[in-house]
């Protein structure tokens, strides 16, 4: 069986379900918009230091959006014990995981596509650096959140305190990636800073954690 066929069908199934209910996207946008609006009232960045602060606000909004989405991403698998049904099939566990990750990344990128223009308007900002490079940072940062988030969401899906455990597991492990995306975003907004170094950090983070998660997901699935 083709690995990519399984991955593709997981992505299509999740997109189809979400298109019908819009439960995750609505929750994500609500939380993230709330953060952006509240912070936009508290300060307007004029200096480079304030721009750095604004990039942090943007990624806090994405983080809120991501955690609320990831918590729900395995909810559909939990209902009617669909996760068990996936385990009954001969499909590779890592292909299932990759499919869930890609679907989650698409949902988060979709939310970010709405949030970034609003962020620029609310905070009266524009990119002084290369926008194309920042889009790469956005994709790498989103994947960093999603790959670990999907892994931990699967691990905690059958636990009673999963809403509490998911951020407790996800946030500490994501700190290096969060520092890198905030610094890279600040560098893109101000046009100064070691953008290349932070991108390298993000690539290394994504590679390491994606490999680990793909290798370990079968064990996680057996334990759920």
């Amino acid at each position: 069986m083709s690995y990519w066929t399984v991955t593709k069908h997981i992505v299509v199934k999740d997109l189809r379900s979400e298109a019908r209910t819009r439960e995750m996207t609505n929750a994500m946008l609500f939380f993230a918009l709330l953060v952006l609006v509240l912070f936009s009232f508290s300060f307007q960045p004029a200096t480079d230091e304030e721009r750095r602060l604004a990039s942090g606000v943007l990624w806090i909004a994405f983080l809120f959006a991501g955690v609320s989405m990831l918590d729900r991403s395995f909810w559909r698998e939990r209902m009617n014990e669909c996760l068990e049904a996936l385990r009954l099939t001969p499909a590779s566990a890592s292909a299932l995981f990759l499919g869930k990750c890609l679907a989650n990344a698409l949902f988060l990128l979709l939310a970010e596509a709405v949030l970034v223009p609003l962020f620029l308007v609310f905070f009266d900002l524009s990119f002084r650096g290369d926008v194309g490079v920042w889009l790469l940072v956005l994709v790498l940062g989103t994947w960093a959140l999603v790959v670990n988030g999907t892994f931990f969401a699967a691990m905690t899906t059958n636990l009673r305190s999963r809403e509490l455990l998911l951020p407790l597991l996800l946030l500490p492990i994501s700190v290096p990636a969060l520092i890198a995306v905030v610094e890279a975003t600040a560098a893109s907004l101000s046009g100064e800073g070691a953008l290349r170094v932070w991108i390298q950090v993000l690539i290394a983070f994504d590679l390491i954690y994606t490999t680990l998660a793909l290798l370990l997901f079968e064990t996680v699935l057996e334990g759920t």
């Binding site: 199934k13 559909r76 669909c82 068990e84």
Partner: protein, 240 residues
């Protein structure tokens, strides 16, 4: 069909399953051969569903050995040959019955056969008329049929059916009984849990009665020399 020469499909050897200190299964042993149907009966909490989940490799036994098709590990080939109808429907609520089946068909790598196989199983279980309805809009009986269709999708050689008659009307029960006869004649092995053992009379080769996880009794309903059900298992002791 039920001679000893038939290949062994499923074997439990002194299988115990404990959840903490709760005994779900205690030293359960039996073998199931090709073309046999074994009924598993017992009261609520007797371990029937746990037994099926262990047989499907969804739960690991605490001790003892489970083998399906002479394999103790659930390789992709073994998984493909096992069909489980569980208590839960295993179906996605927001997708239609047909979309669910096509999704699972892809995971079972049915390829070009998928369309034909989906149509066939829907017809077999009588779920054609609601194939386009989302699962969330289905009644309990309809879900059961759709769920049975999902279990049959990969044309498994071992069918594990948990309460297949619950929620079904008389006509549907007769249809499932006819299907069971047909599967058995085709050489499939079936392990069926039920509270309505009388519905399996004339179809099942034997019955295992579970009581608090132990094999409390067994009886052969038809001549079935290959069905080797273990002696009554000893009760668990305090030291396990």
């Amino acid at each position: 069909m039920n001679g000893t020469s038939e290949p062994r499909v499923l074997a439990f050897e002194r299988v115990c399953k404990l959840f903490g200190e709760t005994v779900a299964l205690w030293q359960v042993s039996f073998t199931l051969h090709r073309g046999e149907l074994m009924a598993i009966t017992g009261g609520n909490g007797s371990g029937k569903s746990t037994l099926l989940r262990v047989a499907a490799f969804l739960l690991k036994p605490s001790s003892g050995t489970v083998s399906a098709f002479e394999q103790v590990r659930p390789t992709p080939t073994v998984r493909r040959r096992i069909g489980l109808l569980g208590h839960a429907s295993f179906l996605y609520e927001d997708l239609s019955v047909e979309e669910n089946l096509k999704f699972y068909a892809a995971l079972y790598a049915l390829g070009r056969e998928a369309e034909e196989r989906v149509a066939r199983v829907l017809g077999d279980v009588g779920a054609e008329e609601f194939r386009h309805r989302p699962v969330r809009a289905l009644s309990h009986g309809m879900r059961k049929k759709a769920s049975l269709a999902r279990a049959l999708l990969a044309d498994p050689d071992l069918l594990l059916l948990d309460e297949p008659f619950s929620g079904l009307d008389r006509e549907s029960i007769e249809r499932v009984r006819a299907l069971m006869r047909q599967w058995r004649e085709c050489g499939k092995a079936l392990l069926v849990t039920t509270h309505q053992a009388e519905l399996l009379e004339g179809i099942a080769d034997g019955e295992i009665v579970l009581d608090r996880g132990r094999v409390a009794a067994w009886r052969r309903w038809t001549h079935s020399p290959s069905t080797e059900i273990a002696r009554l298992a000893p009760s668990p002791t305090a030291d396990g």
